[in-house]
């Protein structure tokens, strides 16, 4: 049996990266959020937030919709069904790992 910390390596790093995990956690809690909200949540610069969102958009986890409200640009981001499923799966995996870690006894100490 693998030690729990070894299984940590099997976690999807695309989701587990702290900024992206915060973004996906927020997006799965609503229908959509705008760019400013996600920026205030993560504290990332516009460029870095755009890069993270592009990565999530590439794999089909989020959709990015750009509109104009009058002359003001408005970017709305929403999680897709695929993204929602992936986040749920990730949480389940983390939960399993946590429960395993609680009961794990290092070899040779039994």
């Amino acid at each position: 049996m693998k030690a729990p910390f070894e299984e940590l390596a099997t976690l999807d790093r695309l989701i587990h990266e702290p900024a992206r995990l915060a973004l996906l956690t927020a997006l799965t809690s609503c229908e959509s959020a705008d760019f400013l909200y996600l920026q205030r949540l993560t504290g990332l610069s516009k460029g870095n937030l755009s890069s993270h969102l592009s990565k999530l958009e590439e794999v089909g986890f989020v959709t990015v919709e750009k509109q104009f409200k009058g002359k003001t640009p408005l970017t709305r981001i929403a999680v897709t069904d695929k993204g929602r499923e992936a986040v749920e799966q990730h949480w389940q995996q983390l939960e399993q790992l946590r429960s395993k870690a609680k009961h794990w006894v290092p070899q040779g100490t039994e």
Partner: protein, 232 residues
């Protein structure tokens, strides 16, 4: 990123509209103002109905002003923290909770009015109302995901006030008797209106603090060159 932080993100995003606490503070202040007015002694020779009518008009004006401020402060939140569209599920849950609270409020009001007519009690059952208010706050904390601990603090405040009222040691009554310009003839109404007004103000300020802490990250300065490589 800790589980607690993620829970807070979930909570703030789900109830973003309701956590814009500064929008609700004016409503609490109007209620506190009404409680203060109720605490003033009734001047002799003044028509009670006309006095009550004038107070109601002032309160209505206050509520209209609070509603205008609600919209204005909403614009501040949109500009400062952005916009979130709530999901259909959350919307339904919120509507149900609002409907449920309104129905409970109406039933309690009607039962009180009926009791007042059918029996000879003159004062509303204040201890019961305060304990019920405390229970309502605990329910709200539980319903909203058990994240905002300050709801429990407000609930404890209501329960404490209820218990003190039951043992005839209400600080509100004591204050009304001590101050030279107040009377305890409407002590129950002052306690109930004042405690709810204070609860709305306190919760509004603490909700705002929670929201501002969660969304308070000033964006990193833009680098001169291309954005740094984000981890895969």
């Amino acid at each position: 990123m800790s589980e607690q932080q993620l829970q807070r993100i979930q909570f703030v995003t789900t109830y973003y509209d309701w956590l814009q606490g500064l929008r609700f503070v004016p409503f609490g202040l109007v209620q506190l103002g009404f409680a203060a007015w109720l605490a003033l002694p009734r001047p002799e020779g003044v028509d009670v109905k006309a006095r009550m009518g004038a107070a109601m008009l002032v309160m209505l004006g206050g509520m209209l002003l609070a509603t205008a401020l609600y919209a204005l402060v909403g614009a501040y939140y949109r500009r400062r923290f952005g916009v979130v569209r709530r999901s259909a599920t959350t919307h339904q849950r919120m509507q149900k909770a609002l409907m449920g609270s309104t129905v409970v409020g109406l039933v309690v009001g009607l039962v009180t009015a009926w009791l007042r007519k059918a029996t000879d009690f003159t004062e509303p059952p204040l201890t019961g109302f305060l304990l019920l208010s405390g229970l309502a706050m605990v329910w709200y904390w539980d319903w909203s995901g058990r994240v905002a601990r300050h709801y429990l603090g407000v609930a404890a405040g209501f329960v404490l006030l209820g218990v003190l009222q039951a043992v005839d040691a209400s600080p509100v009554y004591a204050l009304l008797r001590t101050l030279p310009f107040t009377s305890d003839s409407h002590g129950a109404a002052v306690t109930l209106t004042g405690s709810w007004g204070a609860a709305v103000v306190i919760m509004g300020l603490l909700d705002h603090r929670l929201l501002a802490r969660t969304l308070g990250h000033e964006p990193e300065p833009e680098p001169d060159s291309a954005p740094e490589e984000v981890p895969e």
